[in-house]
Structure formats: structure tokens, C-alpha cells
Symmetry: C2
Subunit: 477 residues, 2 copies
Amino acid sequence: MNAIHPVQGRRRTIPPGFIEVLRERLGDRVVTSPAACEHHGRDESPYPTTPPDVVVYALNTEEVAWVAAHCNTHRVPLIPYGAGSSLEGHLLAVQGGVSLDLSRMDQIVAVHPEDFTVTVQAGVTRKQLNDSIRDTGLFFPIDPGADASLGGMAATRASGTNAVRYGTMRENVVSLKVVTADGRVIDTASRARKSSAGYDLTRVFVGSEGTLGIITEVTVRLYPQPEAISAAICNFPELSSAVQSVIEIIQMGVPVARVEFMDTAAVRATNAYSKLELKESPLLLFEFHGSPAGVREQAEVVQEIARANGGEDFAWAERPEDRSRLWTARHNAYFAGLQLRPGCRASTTDVCVPISRLAECVTETAADMDQASFPYTIVGHVGDGNFHVLMLLDPDDPRQFEESEVLNRRLVERAIRMDGTCTGEHGVGLHKMAFMELEHGRDALDLMAALKHAFDPHDILNPGKIIPLAPGVELAA
Amino acid sequence: MNAIHPVQGRRRTIPPGFIEVLRERLGDRVVTSPAACEHHGRDESPYPTTPPDVVVYALNTEEVAWVAAHCNTHRVPLIPYGAGSSLEGHLLAVQGGVSLDLSRMDQIVAVHPEDFTVTVQAGVTRKQLNDSIRDTGLFFPIDPGADASLGGMAATRASGTNAVRYGTMRENVVSLKVVTADGRVIDTASRARKSSAGYDLTRVFVGSEGTLGIITEVTVRLYPQPEAISAAICNFPELSSAVQSVIEIIQMGVPVARVEFMDTAAVRATNAYSKLELKESPLLLFEFHGSPAGVREQAEVVQEIARANGGEDFAWAERPEDRSRLWTARHNAYFAGLQLRPGCRASTTDVCVPISRLAECVTETAADMDQASFPYTIVGHVGDGNFHVLMLLDPDDPRQFEESEVLNRRLVERAIRMDGTCTGEHGVGLHKMAFMELEHGRDALDLMAALKHAFDPHDILNPGKIIPLAPGVELAA
């Protein structure tokens, strides 16, 4: 592999007339301008722009199916594009081809409040979804920082701050409408809450990052808006006591809705960016959902456990506007971090370990990162054992990127050694491919490759992603 | 198809010397006696015994891998066998071959209380698991009526009465150790609570009923034993008011741990079998888990909603022995039902629909069943929209079996028409295969078949199950 992309196949040649056929049916929704192609050839990863040959804007499932069949016939790569907020190079067109922009597929298809489900087109974003269902008394909890599309969230098995209570996309996708590589349309499941009727096609596609099929509709679970919510912040003398508190809180069965960790650098960045005056030491940020009495009870138990572990300055945010300010600040931790070094090139990574190993993993990581020649922050969804390292690199110094990759490798190896995973929620994209064999072993990767080949025999769907090639194997062009 | 089995391939011939090679390595754990073969050729389904050619008792993953490789080389069917408690013909040796009995693989491999996980060999049963971890303060909630093995529960995507609160095996399996068709051993995931690192192999194998690989170890999530538990019974004038109460309870966000429905016949059977004096009308059986105050609060909300819907005689079971008697009675509803017609042949079926359609589905089903020439009961995990019909047939009257199949077909078609599934928790086995195309459509079934072929190219793993053959296709012998 080279320092920019792992080697994932050559750019393929677009056959003559291929784009004209697209234009005949889709008109000016077929765009080849450099601006559009470049925009669709980058995400929030540190990789350089890798544009597709053409961008197609689809309006419905039928169009997606038609485009897929056309690409399959001509062996042209097809890469679904949602909000462009992926972090690991998922949507870069490493073999060229078509970027299929689904952002105009933004319709709410069906709301079933009595069943706690909603069906949306893949381009609907999570904020749009919550705005549209607000008056049902229900909400959709999953919140990766970005205002990602539901299709993209399903495709990367996204989660975020609420996962400790509500689970990830893995648990919350009820059913998907999917276009296969050869342009057929399937529904992966009924709307029943549970089923034992055959293979779990829903979970096959959740997390498949556009490599097995193109998600065009998503049905997800909704939850009652909690009657009462409260949030609190607690500072700790050190990271390990914060993590120990979280373990004990979960062990007590407290159904905490959110529990987030920020290291001192992240707190400092957030204070500067969001005009807050948080005490600059490791802290936990809590949110509790339930009945008024239930929330009070949860908060009391948590406060007691935090104090016993050296937590101090337990501060409450009871008013909605204060809570909102706090969580906006947390969600902006990424952008706040960037401001620690204006103009920097950011590389962000995430791992997840069993919670019993979390303190050890974060402590070792912080010690390792302290040797770096650039600043960094650590934030984490600690209830899940998941944390992120944001590395702020000098864009004009390629050695810093190489250094960050070495640190990233050590971080991932550490997490896997502790029975964890190379990515808790970002997905594999390009950036984590090199670790797939270390995490899963060659035999499990071979099964993944067999699944990929069974579903996409001509390797047109987001080719060159997720599964690293076995040594010596060359991708078909 | 005939009235006994759908046509799922001919019995295959065991090559000469095949069993001798098994004996050489495994000695007297290779059994060909008619008694052992017959025992391993039946489950709790209404189908006649269909024995394998040989039964092999494995003690560890290495032996399973060796047996799989041997079967794969010689194209001999291999059917994993756990507790034998499946209900739909899952383990019948329709093509003959090896029944691989995993019940002696009954070791607890690793308990990680601080991570809320336990790893067990596939033959460990759910009661054995809970007994072995009792002193950790944690428990494993999933409870199909039978004392099933964890491997079997994972393979059928089992659930039970607690699923409304704790989810099914889909949500609670963290990782699996699996032997592939060609005898390789893989781990499907790390012990991290969440991961976005590639395809979800865990969920590929959960619910695959032994057709994609053989599960030899299961890592599952555990939960804190609730500080307080209470149970209650409430009678309703009719089914629909009971179901309406459940919808409102869930809409209010009450985290009810269990909510079970029994029809009048099921209550009558349970009274007779379990020496209870429940009022013989439709009833709901609740259980609440939480802190003492939380449980009290949940109970108050539920009582209020039930009353507003015509519920009466709300009766509490606060003492552990009363609760235990009640839930034992519920778990024995199947056996109680059988006693409504001693010596009968039972056919039990389950469907699951979105909860908004549940009242309609159960009401129509009861009206349809009332025309039957045999008795029946209906019980359900109503919080999930899942219910069971137990049909009590005269074993000497084949017309009753045919009649039950017609009623079953109408039930399944009704559920699918209401955007539900042909099985909520029993699995497909043989009995639901005929409905797979109706539920999923041919294109989705083709994907399942492609997955099966990719993972088991010689079709040795529990062949003739789950996926009906496309018209005109003959299974390879």
C-alpha cells in the first residue's frame, strides 16, 4: 500500500456511449462537471479527492435499479452517495465509475406511530426525520455527530451518543428496500418486530457500506419522547476513575441514555469553540430519560457512584436550552478540535473495546499520543467502550500523516489485542481495511469475500472497499 | 409436496467406509443404533420421525471441524442437534446423513461480569447458564418455553416472553464461534458491544438453522438481575381491549419486562394443568423489572391503562413463589394445552405482525379456528405482536392434520398480508418453507440461496431446509 490509498484496484475504463445512455433517461441529473465529480469524490477522511467519472442524481428506487442494471451490464463501478459525511474514505471512487447521489430521495414514505416505525427514502437525514415526526410524540435516537442520511447511517452501521440506551443501526433498522447489483429490488423484512423467517438479510446489508446492494428505503424503530430529561456534567481527577464510574453505573442497571467522555484537550477545545466554561479536566456528560421520578432516581444513583470514584462538581442542566447547548457543544467536539489547529488536516479514528478494558486502552492510547508531534483530542461513547482520537495534522507536512498512521495502527492493534474492534461506528471505508485480517482472521474474511462475490459477482458495488485482497490476488478491471 | 414432508431432496447414500473413519477417531461416540437415530430424527413438530444414518457426539470445536471436513469431502449431510426442542422439523434428516449431537459440549467457557457477557459451548442450556452465573448478580433473559441449548437458540433466532424488554437472540448474541462447511473455524466478532468492521457475520449465522455453519460457542449479553420484580394478571372482556392496552402501555414508554396474552381456552387449560384458579376470560400477564420505586410507577401506569380499556380484577403476585408459579404455568401452557386432548398430536405455529394489526389478526384467526373440528389455544407475546396457535389433532385421523395445515396456511397468509412474518420465533424448519416465497419474494429468496451456496457449496449443512427450491430445480444428491 502507499501512503495515500491502499492499492484497491485500478481505475476502470467507462465504455463509449455509457454516459449517453444515462443522459437519455435521466437528462440533466447526469453530471460530469469537475466540480460535481470532485465534490462526490471526497468525504471527511484525510484522503485526497478521488472523483468518479460521472454523478447521477436518482429520484426513486426504479431509477436506482435501472442505473444498477446499466452499470452491471457494462462492469462500471457504482458508489452510493448520501450526505458525504463518512470519515474513512467510504465513498472515494478508487476505481472511478458512477457516484449515485441519493440526497434527492428525501421523502418520508410512511409513519406508523402505533407500531413505532417510520419508513423513509435513503436520502432523508436524521434531523429531517426527527423534525417530520415531532408531533407523533416519538423520536429516532441515533445521532452520529453529522446530519447523516438514513441510508448512509444504515450502510455504515452508525451509532453515536444514545447507543448505550437505544442501540445502534444494527438494532434499530426494521427493514430495508435494497437494489441488488443486477438491478432487482427486494425488501429485506416485514415490519414485524421480530422474525425467524430465514436469513437476516436486513443485517447483511446494515454495515455493508454500499458493497452488497444499494439501500433506497429504510424502516427504523422509533421511541416515545421521554417525559422527563435531565443532563449533568461531572469532572474527574483522571480518566480511569471516570470509566470505573461508568462500569458501576451500568452494572447497577441504570438505564442512562447517554454517557460521554471528553479528555482535557477536548474540554479545552469545546470551551473555546462553544463559549463554555467547563472545568478543564476529564469529564463525563450524562443524560437521563424517563418519568420525572425515574430520572430523579437515576440521577441520584449516578451521583453517588461518581462521588465514590472521586467525581466532583456535579453540575445539572435541567432547562432544555442548557441541555441543548451542552449537547450541541459535544456534537461540535469534532469541529472544536479542528480549531485547536486552524487550517489543519484532520485524521479521526475510532475503536471499541469491552468496557472492562476501556480505561487501560484509553490510558495507553493517551500515553502513546502524548509522544506525537501534533495535537490530539479523545472523546468517547464510554458506555459502549467506544472512543475517538482526533489527530490534527500539518497539511504541508506529509511526515505528520505518516506518523498519524503509525499511531492509528498501534491504537487499532491495542484495541484488537483487548478483544475489541478496529472501528466501533465509523466503518471500514479505506482507512480500516488494513486491519480487517488482523481483527477477523483470513477464514472469516474469506466468508465475507464469498458473500460479496455471491451478491455482486462483477464487483461493481463500491469496489475496492471493506475486504482487502488476499495476497497476490488482483482485482478484475 | 406431500402431506408429511415438503419434497426436499432424496436421501443420500453414505459412502462405504465413511462411518468407520468417524469411529476410528471418535470411538463409541459414533452411534448407529435405531434408538439413537430415531431419537435424533424427531423434534416437537407434527412430522413423523426421519432418522439420520448415524449420530455423532462431539466434545469440542476441533472435533466438529473434523467431522464437517469429513462430511464435506464425502458430500454427506450434517445436521447439528442441540436439545431437540425445535417445533418446525428443523432437525429431521430429510436427506439422511450425520446428526451431530452437541449436548455434551456443555462448558461455560468464560464469564465477564464487568462486560455483561458470557461465552458458553453450544450445548449449554439456558437454565444451566442462569444457574452458573447466578452469583454474579447478572442473568440471561431469553426464555423460549423449552430449556433449549444456546447453540440452538442462536440458530433459530429464538426469543420468548422477555423479548419485549430485552430483545431476541438477534440483539443478544455478541459473537459466535462457527465451523464452516469445509471445517474451518471462525469467530464472527470481537466482544466489543458494537462494531462497524465489515459484514455482520454474527447476524448471518443467527437464525440460519444449521444451514450455513455449525455454531460451537456462543457469547451473549447479560443483564443486571432487577432489584425489584413484580407480576400481575388482568382479565379483559375481550381480546381487542387487551391488545389495545398493550399498545398504549408501550406508547407511554413503560419498560414492561413481559406482557403475555392467553385466550380463554389457554387459561382453562392452564388452570387444569397447573392447579390454578385464574378467571377464565382473555387475560394479560405482566412482569415489571426495576428499582422498587420504578416498578411501582410502571405498575400504576399499566393499571390505569388496563382499567381504561375495561380490564378488571388486577391481581398482584408480589412474592417470588407466586410469581414463579404464574410463569411456570405460562411456560407450561404448551403442555397444558396438550392435556385438553390427552394422546393428541399437536401442531403449533407462530406468526408475528406489527402491533397495530395484532387485534385484527388474532380476532380473525380465532374466528377461523372456531370452525375447526379440533380444539385449539392461542397464547402470545403481545408486546412484540407475536402469537402462537396450538392445534390438538386426533393422531389417527389424517384429515385433521390436513385441516390444520389449511388453517395454518390461512393464518400465515393473514399475517403476511398485514406486513407480518410467517414465524416470529419458531424458525422455518420444514413447516414454514412453503411460505418463504410469499413472505420474501423470489428475488430475496434468490439472495438467500446465493448466500447458502457461497457458504456451503456442496449443500451438506442441514440440507433441504429454509429455502424452497425454485420450481423445476432438483437438489444435487
